[in-house]
Point group: D2
Chain length 385, copies 4
């Protein structure tokens, strides 16, 4: 009895107004009412990416938008530079390989973002410009580490290397400061089910002029993901094939809510919740540790927490789910059982964060992790300021 | 951004499934589909009152069911015995007077339930049996004090007095232990918007055989509230006039949810939340005080908290609403500005209680009430047990 | 499979947007968000009644608003003049009697509206002004006859009689032209579940200054229905007791929809549908007959159709319900089995009217009523114009 | 005012219960509640395809499932045999070409289904078995022609050719008889927004063992569409990447509704509506013509209607949309302006079909098409039987 706490780092809690909107009857995706909505949504999505360029909206979940970013800009055998910042970076690297690209995969410890020194080094060394694209995950959902894309851009500019910059913002868009145009990102990949506060089922490619130019010569095979026919149809507010109309209803509401709060306020709220959560972890002690090691890279969207040796993060999560009906994120692959993740992303406020941390505190205590029960209090001090 | 915390003692947070149910299209209230639902609802509501007798469901909010209890059992000039246990008891007394009854109103301090000694005394003194009914509010929503109806019954039985027992359970039904048949209550008055976890708009009279007998001679004028034609129509699953079909959809869901959790578990959950809240108040100190003074009478549904002199409870509530988007209950009439009320009733769980208390703690602190910031921690100790 | 056709004359089909609105979480009925909505709703409801005076909104279904109209303006033993225009007029007369009024009940044939000649005669004869109120049902839901309230007003004015004019618009408000102020109606009674396109659960009293003056001396007992405390609370956007918040959400939407279409267009649409329906009945022939006999009194909200002797209207309705999942209105009391009623009221359009008439035509044919199958065609001719 | 008639051949009218279901809060797609639902949905979807083999569910609209069918079974340069039965067949052929396949495209007149004689001829001639797959559109949404897949299978069997059989059932599944296993289809492609009565956003591949064997050597690049990781995850009720949880809620409801009605009844209902629609077209005359020329191939899902020379189908559609708020399907590419399409698919019943045909009849009349106004009547004769 009572509401479920969905504190995984996505899908996130959707605003009730969004859920009611997606329950509206589907309309003719070739009719004037849809057309007007299509135009509005395609325009209103741009500020969330901080871009003036087109944003392509796919009726598909986020992983598809990764594939779209690659197949629209690259050719078989092209070399791309990826960074092992965590589970999702690793998955993207796998996908690139599957699609016939050659991946330079810079290993990482899953506790830091993209290493811009290594990036600079690799690009500088690549005098033949064989590297066609640099792929970064802005916010690693598996680790709670946010790579500094502005610094990535600087390193690329400094190297004078012409590679494209492809960035996954699936778990950051609409929750962590992000600037498609200013950072000269060529393709920004995003999904609906995180900071955009929608159910899963929509994904996005924001594209630069340089990306659109690359499209012209990109040799990877594509059809569903092909930008051109979609952009052509979008020009008049339509889609090439059947769009996910009901999720677009929700998107329109979500975009209005973000605009009403103000993106800067949205980002500040997420950072504040992240800071409060880390303060709780520090206060708990007992061998718990925030997975992210660089102060500059703490994610506003989630906090990944390492449990001490001898404790099983999944058992703790299960106890919390059974006792409090709260879902927390699991540690993925390398971090399975070692980490649990608290999502504080999307439609979320101070009181539910306090409740979330309260459930984690009691859950840790009941699980026998030797914490001090000061976490919630300490987090509340942060929230009171 | 984020969900609203509706922590007034009713209307309460409705389960999402209930809200979706009331959004179903209205159906013909004279057709077979309605009839089947009508029969189910009329049957399934009985266990919540712990009665085997009929329960009348009005398409009207709770205040109406008070009126119904009186006009169906009493005659002009009849004497009724009421107890000033708080604001709602006082309102009921006013209503009785307006309807032409003579009210013996036993004064009270709004910090205790019905005084069964006084009750016994009055009944014993009334050898002429002029008192036709004893009216009690089971749970005083204005004070967080739960009168002990079992003890009321005992006192009445001991006195051998034949008065009817009319009990208002508007803010207790479905959240605090209540036994219509066992306690030989004659009319139980209830509403939809509290423990039944529905929006306001339905109200109830559970009736005893003795009440039905009293109906036969009751001389107060009535039409809308008249039991008989409703009971006659109910026999085949219908209502005399148009019922509130969409709220009945929700009621059917809510009754199922209560049954699934089990009423005893529902009551225990509310008591636990009440205990945790009181533990927080005690830990906060700073001159805060629980309004209820009798350990046996703490309400499982809400906690009314007195603020120290020099502080304005409404200003504190306003600060909390503005800062945390949480609604708390105001002090009513005599208690205006002196008390705020935390509802922990209905569709509610530990984590949201922690969040609620967290918001109150910060709100008190920001309002300059000299509390110790130990309230949430102490409440969590209770919840951890 | 497929949608249900709810073609009873109320509750009516609710707009999907209204249903989604009532599924919004309930809010604090004492808080600022409610207050703002309360003020908007109380203001926006006025034009639907064509009044500048207050409209009282009850959290109760329509029958209650009848009671309210009586108890707020009249005293025990007061004489009221009622007209037997059909089932609901008869019910209202019964209620008046139950509440202690003396009813002069002018008999009628259930096929005409209020007889203004008789009205004039009675009032003129009542030189002692014993008649305190004239009670009319604007649109008789049982017969599909709309009384001409403008003519009623004229007759009353001509007689110089000071009686109050109380009018039931439960099945006409928001669908048939009605003018509270212009016709100097003293209390207009209405409900949510017809032309207002809401589920049942709200009802209304629009009041004149004369009615408010009558209130001051009205001796009937009242509490729940008492205007004064509600009007006092309404002044600041609140209600005296818990309002039906979720239905008010829907009301706000419904009022916007009515305003967007324009009341005159709403009325014209209903009249057009009524004319098309009558055209179908005429074309069917076969002994079917429209219940209403006066061309000036055909209801825009519904059409009651008499079936020929030897046929059972309820059997026809049952066949149509079973075969087409369409609910039609039954004949009530005197008309049981003799009449079925087609509702064409509320949220309704040409195509669903065609479907409705199509289902009726096939149903009549399958039931063995010797109709010509020209009804739908003829109705379509009307709709094509 | 009134409901919108969405009579395009998909997206279709969704049951209200489906729409409410997709408005449920999103849950953890890695948790036990999702897992249980995942298992149920994956199992319950099978009977709709009449298969015992796995069905892959993509969080993407239908076009994506076409791509999936190709990339999971074929290799670059593979030859596939396609039939130009209409617009969607042509699009699929384009896609195959874009993905690097060699397409033998058998031209057609858009008024017949797959020509099984040509098929037999081509396969028999292909003694080298260069043709790796035969691609058919079961129901051509652009023409209302249903290819006879059973006959296709027979022709393939008779030829002894080992090509795979890939069939698009996007606008037939759940509305027109289809038998994945019996007809030995290797990949059946489907979408959510037609006979499955859901909003767009889910698509499907039902696969044969032979298809799974082909997967092992299929050389086309794939990642998002890759069957294997999805099937692996599905084994325990999960998905490899984030599924479209909220649409799966709706799917579960829709599958139950189909099961409750019974698939055979569903198919019969669609055929009946199709027959009634064609009867209306014949009765209208005036130069209107059903696009489908083969009696055996009339689609149960939609009827495409040719308008006489000198009339613009799009102008007729626009008039109907403006006047009756009904969306009809446009003629696509070759048929633009020549054809309009009436969808009678999904959640639909007799009465709304009558309303639909009524709107079309009046719209044709108002557009000056010289029809006889007997269409609706004639359709009703069919429906009455």
């Amino acid at each position: 009895m009572g509401r479920h706490y969905l504190q995984i780092p996505g899908p996130t809690n959707c605003p009730e107004e969004v859920l009611r909107a997606i329950a509206k009857p589907t309309i003719d995706h070739r009719g004037p009412e849809f057309q007007a909505m299509g135009k509005r949504v395609l325009e209103n999505i741009k500020p969330v990416f901080k871009t003036k360029n087109p944003v392509i909206i796919y009726p598909a979940s986020g992983t598809g938008a990764w594939e779209a970013a690659l197949v629209n800009t690259l050719s078989p055998g092209d070399r791309v530079l990826c960074f092992e910042t965590g589970h999702f970076a690793a998955l993207w690297q796998t996908m690139a390989t599957e699609l016939g690209l050659t991946v330079d995969f810079v290993p990482g410890d899953w506790r830091h973002g993209v290493d811009t020194d290594v990036l600079a080094e690799r690009l500088t060394a690549d005098t033949a410009h064989e590297i066609k694209a640099v792929c970064c995950v802005h916010n690693e959902t598996s680790t709670g580490v946010t790579s500094r894309i502005g610094d990535v851009r600087e390193a690329m500019d400094a190297s004078g290397h012409p590679a494209l910059l492809l960035v996954d913002t699936i778990s950051s868009l609409g929750s962590i400061d992000y600037r498609h145009d200013e950072w000269k990102v060529d393709v920004t990949v995003a999904g609906s089910q995180k900071g955009l506060m929608l159910p899963p089922g929509l994904s996005f490619n924001a594209v630069s002029d340089k990306a659109l130019a690359a499209y012209e010569t990109a040799g990877l095979r594509k059809s569903f993901w092909d930008w051109k026919p979609i952009l052509d149809a979008n020009a008049s507010g339509f889609w090439q094939y059947t769009p996910a109309t009901n999720l677009l209803y929700g998107l329109e509401v979500a975009l209005r809510l973000l605009e009403e709060e103000g993106l800067d306020n949205v980002f500040a709220r997420h950072q504040r919740h992240s800071a409060a959560t880390r303060a709780a972890v520090a206060a708990w002690g007992g061998g718990l540790e925030v997975q992210c090691l660089d102060e500059r890279e703490h994610s506003g969207a989630l906090t990944a927490i390492r449990v001490p040796d001898g404790h099983d993060a999944d058992a703790i999560r299960k106890l919390i789910l059974d006792r409090f009906d709260m879902s927390l994120g699991a540690g993925l692959t390398k971090l399975a059982g070692r980490v649990f993740r608290i999502g504080h992303i999307g439609w979320f406020e101070d009181l539910s964060l306090i409740g979330t941390l309260g459930g984690v505190q009691i859950g840790l205590s009941l699980s026998g992790v030797p914490i001090k029960k000061d976490g919630v209090d300490t987090a509340m001090e942060v929230l009171e300021r």
